[in-house]
Assembly symmetry: C2
Homo-oligomer: 382 residues x 2
């Protein structure tokens, strides 16, 4: 069965695996003795290995950023709008790598993997990961693929934090850093939302202190609640008004505690479908990585000093209605970069979609990405 | 044992009860056959019964708005800052009534009360209440107390919605309507937050479809989660930053899933203490009353037409950092009132506390309330 894909699609792709048997020391003081990373690549690595772009994923993302796994797939990878021939991250020019982060639940070693020390799934014993740990594991993957320096490291939200961390920890291995809808650290409100999500999971009686797999069960309700809550923070008040307003599911009020409004039905659906595909321990781990991220903390809370280590150029983008990581949060990074005398391009994009905007092919946004990455490619001579 | 109270306190107060045996027809199409309301009064009703002020409570409020129930009480009523001799709602001039709404859990007939038809607690069979039902029950309480017309009906948040409903449903029984930090209807985002809170409760295995009392248990975890979430929406991002920032509970990161940050500890405490005092079915009921409130819906969604029925004067106040019911939401009411040619005074108060600001004695806010209510009293000749 052959199937044709749009000319700007990377088409059929296959995940690959890389196994690492050297222990990875972690921020928490522990180490992972051995691990696997699952990743995908799109495009071709050029002769001088200078055209690689790393895509870092956000809270619930994975290695499947573009294309299709089977001809039957209805949906492409999570950032297919941005990656492909002729798209902003142009696979005719760039060799694009996307991976599932350590601690994830889509194929890389994580809480669902077997702990070699016990022969049972890690579950809650999987170490708490920090953004710097991910970046270190990504650098090892780059070594494996023979990439000494990335043309660009690109990420949105938590992915943007990884890109920022790359610029600090591996200044010689990144020429451009693209940080979208991120923040230099979480606010108390951000942490508060994460904490309620975590509590929804750990208070689910099916959580069993994270050992639900041993109990042959799953904290589906807690994870669904966590996602429902998260989802509210990904959308803007405006986009919810636009999308749902006060529309009624059945055309009338029920006067009971079932679904009255469309928005309720939508949230329940989002919660269920997420809890069917995601691991609860990974959700906890991802939210803690977000909470802990604060690169300036090692530099007396001076972000400019912290960023003075970087040698790359920066592109930052934020979205006008994003209230999870509002434009002001990106501007904190921009201001620190200017103070640190770095080259930085920044645009606040007028977009109604809230935090989720970073996943949408918004013309101003994609034009910014395209223009910037075109320069990256020209500079690199490819 | 005598104890002295500050001169601006109403001092020791005792709740009173009023029993109503005439059935109350409700918006949902059902009726309550008989019910009790618990209420408190502060100050004295004047001879021509013209100085009464009704205080309407918000989601988790009750009849104990001011003063102390026993000399041992550490905390006064929930709006003690605003009610008392010389305070904005000056009990030397006004006769103030505060009640626990029908469906509440602090003494008025609600889900914890015995259903006369079954001899068991109503639980989930207690009818879903609409704001107009509360207002009708409040009007009956006014009848009982011999009050034909209120000098003012005053409320914040959900309480403000009741005040607004008073102006529409009983135009002859209210001279001034004071609406603080409210909205003419909930947005999709507001409903979404309420829905996640409700789902946290109904998905708690101890909820037993609302019949937890029959099962001798209680959905404490679900209710705590609901409150934690609600609490985030009551505070502003700024006030959380000010109050907690990224302060660590034990001075260091734990690298586990326990409390790292102060804000987490605070939220857990808020959740626990609330779930110890509040009824889960009442919480569901209160959030549905919020979701359903939309007085313009009966007037082709034209708020100005809806408000043209009112005959009172209006005072509205909003708070700059309130993102639950932002100033724009109050301004929708103000704009409609102006269009309907009503007398309206409005102030957006610069305050860092978010939605919770309506409970704080913020100087500009209390000065506005004092000035306005002073005029109300002068007009009334008391």
């Amino acid at each position: 069965m052959s199937k044709s894909y749009p000319s700007d699609s990377v088409g059929l792709v296959s995940p690959q695996r890389a196994r690492f048997s050297e222990p990875l020391p972690l921020r928490c003081g522990r180490e992972i003795p051995e691990y696997e990373l699952v990743y995908e690549t799109y495009g071709e690595l050029n002769k001088d290995r200078s055209n690689a772009v790393l895509i870092c994923h956000a809270l619930s993302g994975n290695h499947h950023a573009a294309g299709f796994h089977t001809p039957e797939d209805r949906k492409p990878g999570w950032w297919d709008s941005a990656i492909g021939p002729g798209k902003p991250i142009d696979t005719r020019r760039f060799f694009v790598i996307a991976l599932n982060n350590l601690g994830g639940c889509d194929g890389s070693t994580g809480p669902q993997s077997i702990n070699p020390e016990t022969g049972k799934p890690y579950g809650p014993d999987f170490p708490v990961m920090a953004v710097r740990d991910w970046v270190k594991s990504q650098a090892r993957l780059a070594d494996r693929l023979g990439i000494q320096q990335f043309a660009a490291v690109v990420g949105g939200s938590l992915g943007g934090m990884q890109a920022l961390r790359w610029s600090i920890d591996y200044p010689d291995r990144i020429r451009h850093c693209v940080i979208i809808a991120a923040a230099p650290k979480l606010s108390a409100q951000n942490i508060a939302f994460n904490e309620v999500a975590r509590q929804a999971i750990v208070r689910d009686p099916d959580f069993h202190e994270g050992r639900y797999l041993d109990h042959n069960t799953y904290p589906a309700q807690g994870l669904a609640l966590a996602r429902m809550l998260g989802h509210i923070t990904y959308l803007s008040d405006d986009s919810m008004r636009e999308k749902f307003g006060r529309d009624l599911k059945s055309g009338k009020l029920n006067f009971n505690y079932d679904v009255d409004f469309e928005v309720e039905s939508y949230l329940r659906y989002q919660g269920e479908s997420f809890s069917n595909r995601f691991d609860a321990n990974t959700y906890l781990l991802m939210t803690k990585a977000l909470d802990y991220f604060d690169p300036a903390a090692d530099h007396n809370h001076d972000l400019a000093t912290c960023l003075s280590q970087a040698r790359c150029e920066f592109l930052l983008a934020s979205f006008s209605t994003d209230w999870r990581f509002a434009p002001e949060r990106s501007e904190e990074i921009v201001t620190a970069l200017i103070k640190a005398k770095k080259k930085v391009t920044y645009m606040e994009i007028d977009a109604p979609q809230g935090h989720d905007a970073f996943l949408f092919p918004i013309p101003d946004y994609f034009s910014l990405l395209s223009t910037y990455l075109d320069r990256v490619a020209r500079e690199g001579g490819f």
